[in-house]
């Protein structure tokens, strides 16, 4: 129990850092209705760019910005695959993600590159968890506020309309392809920012650090929705719900690790958790549909 309580601040810090990714996944999955797998690659790209920039002597804030820009380019690639070449959403993301592995190897020069908090000025580090929580928390809040403003603008409303009803959007003069690309660019910029902070937090960028990121992002979005869906109606609060979902996810992970789950089994565990949460609405619908039918027969 004591070990678990000791692990909690670390879970919160990790959750807040991955919360930025969760906001990005919220934009594609919930706002645009686009399951974007690019983030597995763009998160690692963000980590790689940030670490190489910082070790090259760049200011960490500037490095974070560079990382986000690199992630945005990845999102742009996926967006163009989909809108210009007509490749289905999931496949477009998989293609970019696969290609990014090589790109990330080139950026890093090897599969793993360390960045020590002793040598460089970093934004977050697991050596200073409290500060990491505050920094990552401020980032999450600032990003949420900026996005809340953005989705209230004419352009942001066009992105939302595209995700909600592309037929209506086109009938109202919205270029739905542009909006999809824009959404993917923003989302992957956030994924890369999340990766940039996570690489600093753990003290290294790894070419495999993004593996399964989409599943963690989805888990965060879905947990946030299940827990807060009924009480959070405001758009900004819904994005924050995804961040809190990420924190809850990492707390659950800390608990199951304490209970003796091997770290090797974590990905399997995550996949099953997400599958379960995705299945609930479907199974619920089926169950209720059957009940209605039975009721009808009884009346007849």
């Amino acid at each position: 129990m004591a070990a678990l309580i000791n692990a909690l601040p670390g879970s919160v810090a990790q959750g807040l850092i991955w919360g930025i990714l969760a906001i990005g996944v919220y934009i594609t999955y919930k706002v645009l209705d686009y399951a974007d797998l690019t983030v597995d690659g763009s998160l690692a790209t963000g980590g790689a760019v940030a670490v190489m920039c910082i070790t090259g002597g760049m200011n960490p804030y500037l490095a974070l910005l560079m990382a986000s820009l690199a992630g945005m380019l990845a999102g742009l690639a996926t967006g163009l695959f989909h809108t210009v070449f007509g490749i289905p959403p999931i496949l477009s993301g998989i293609l970019t993600q696969l290609g990014l592995y090589s790109v990330n190897m080139h950026i890093l020069g090897k599969s793993n590159q360390a960045v020590s908090v002793d040598q460089y000025q970093l934004l977050v580090s697991l050596r200073y968890i409290q500060e990491a929580c505050i920094t990552a928390g401020v980032f999450c809040l600032a990003i949420t506020l900026i996005l809340y403003w953005f989705f209230g603008t004419e352009l942001g409303a066009a992105v939302r309309a595209t995700g909600c009803n592309p037929n209506m959007a086109r009938a109202q003069g919205i270029n739905t392809n542009h909006q999809k690309v824009l959404g993917l660019v923003i989302s992957n910029g956030l994924a890369a920012a999340s990766g940039a902070l996570y690489a600093q937090y753990q003290g290294s960028a790894d070419v495999n650090m993004g593996r399964g990121a989409i599943v963690i992002g989805l888990a965060a979005v879905i947990i946030g929705e299940v827990v807060f869906g009924k009480i959070f109606h405001n758009f900004a609060l819904r994005m924050l719900a995804a961040v809190i979902g990420a924190i809850l996810y990492y707390i659950v992970i800390a608990i199951v690790l304490q209970l003796g789950l091997s770290t090797n089994d974590l990905k399997l565990f995550s996949a099953l958790i997400v599958a379960l949460f995705l299945a609930i609405p479907h199974l619920k619908g089926k169950y209720f549909a059957k009940r209605v039918q039975k009721g009808g027969n009884a009346d007849a």
């Binding site: 603008t153 004419e154 939302r160 209506m168 086109r170 009938a171 003069g173």
Partner: protein, 264 residues
């Protein structure tokens, strides 16, 4: 105003499902025309509307709106000239966005969208007034999600959205077919009101022959991707459903006797 010149469209060409939907159709609408379109299933009514709106590219032919050749323009660029209401009440509005947001999006049809506010306070007041005029009680529910509205309310809202930024041409694709008779009548009355108020040039598809005769100044009948009957003015006013049925029979050799059109 609208010129459709020898437009051809075949779906799934070269396959077993090949379907020639438009067969060299010619159609000219004058400014202020309110044209009702009737025809059996598969006559090409919806296809011609979709061609004008740019949903699919044409195989051959030209489409001009106000002498601007829009044949090659994508759907979202043509939207500037067009107001559209669809058969399915779900199609015309964004369900997860609220009433005022839907209206604000429609008010920006054909305009550049950038980082200005998606909706301003002044707009809200104006929308409230216009919703009040619909007399559906929507003016008190401006921040409700459109998904919570009934089909009739959604069609009325879509109509308002279509006319908010005055279109050169209003396209109505059986927009009352999915509604119950009472609601359908209300939406049709509203359609008439909006078209007359703004003198909108309108193309309205309907399955209801009485409506087709009662509304508008001109009626066209389509069959196998062509206009086979075009009547306007006094002659149209004097039409009876039985006249239209006779025309159908004549055109199709009696195949319409089983069509759902007979019922209306």
């Amino acid at each position: 105003m609208l010129k459709v010149e020898k437009v051809y469209k075949t779906f799934n060409p070269g396959t077993i499902n090949e379907k020639r939907a438009l067969n060299g159709i010619d159609l000219v609408l004058e400014e202020g025309d309110f044209v009702t379109v009737i025809g059996g299933n598969g006559a090409g009514k919806s296809t011609i509307l979709n061609m004008i709106a740019g949903v699919y590219p044409v195989d051959q032919g030209r489409i001009l709106i106000d002498d601007i050749d829009v044949t090659k323009l994508p759907e979202h660029k043509r939207a500037k000239y067009l107001g559209r209401v669809f058969q399915d009440p779900m199609t015309g509005t964004a369900a997860d966005m609220n009433i005022e947001e839907n209206l604000a999006i429609a008010a920006r049809r054909g305009k550049r969208r950038f980082l200005g506010w998606g909706i301003t306070g002044k707009e809200r007041e104006s929308y409230q007034e216009q919703l009040k005029a619909l007399d559906l009680g929507l003016e008190t529910r401006m921040s409700s999600k459109v998904g919570l509205l009934s089909g009739g309310q959604r069609q009325a809202l879509t109509l308002l959205m279509a006319s908010l930024e005055q279109p050169k041409l209003l396209l109505l694709d059986e927009h009352t077919a999915a509604l119950d008779p009472k609601t359908a009548k209300k939406v049709l009355d509203l359609t008439k009101e909006i078209v007359e108020k703004d003198h909108l040039t309108t193309l309205m598809i309907t399955h209801n022959m009485k409506d087709a005769i009662r509304l508008g100044n001109r009626l066209i009948m389509m069959h196998e991707g062509r206009v086979i009957y075009d009547v306007s003015g006094e002659e149209k006013k004097g039409l009876k459903v039985s006249d239209l049925l006779a025309k159908f029979e004549e055109a199709s050799g009696g195949e319409f006797s089983n069509d759902r059109m007979m019922l209306s």
